[in-house]
Symmetry: C2
Subunit: 81 residues, 2 copies
C-alpha cells in the first residue's frame, strides 16, 4: 500500500478570500503580527498498489482531473510506502 | 519574517464525509485502487516577527483559538525563516 499526500494551494496571483477572512479574524483577536494568509487543501489517499511509478502517474491524473482546479490552483504530492 | 505552515487534519476516529465523497468520485472515475481518503487544511501564514520561540507560542494559540476545532481536528505546524 502506498500513501499519497497531496497539497493543493491557490496560485500566487489568484485572490484568496478565505485567507483574507482568516487574516482579518486573527487581527481582530489580537494577532496583529499576522501578514498574508493563504489557505489550501491537504489530502491523504491510500492506494492499493505497490508500484511507485504507476502510483505517481495515477495520482497526477487524479489531481489534474478532480483534486485540483489547475486554472487557479497548484498541486504537489508525496508518495510513501 | 517567519513563515508558518499549519496542517489541520480530522482526528482518526472522526468521520470525514468530504473524504468519502472524494473517494466515491475517484472510484466512479476509474481510480479503483483508492482506499481511504482523508481531507484536511493546509495554511501558510506570514508572521511579522523574527523571534522563533515567540512565534511558536503565538501560532499554537492561533490554532487552539481559531484555525483548528480541537474537538474533532488535530493540528501541527512548521516554522521557517
Amino acid at each position: 500500500m502506498i500513501k499519497a499526500t497531496v497539497y493543493v494551494t491557490i496560485k500566487q496571483n489568484v485572490l484568496d478570500p478565505q485567507g483574507s477572512a482568516v487574516q482579518g479574524a486573527l487581527h481582530s483577536m489580537g494577532f496583529s503580527e499576522v501578514g498574508k494568509v493563504r489557505i489550501g487543501k491537504y489530502m491523504e489517499l491510500e492506494l492499493d498498489t505497490n508500484d511507485r511509478s504507476e502510483a505517481e502517474t495515477r495520482v497526477k491524473a487524479m489531481c489534474e482531473k478532480l483534486l485540483a482546479n489547475t486554472v487557479i490552483e497548484d498541486y504537489r504530492f508525496e508518495l510513501s510506502l
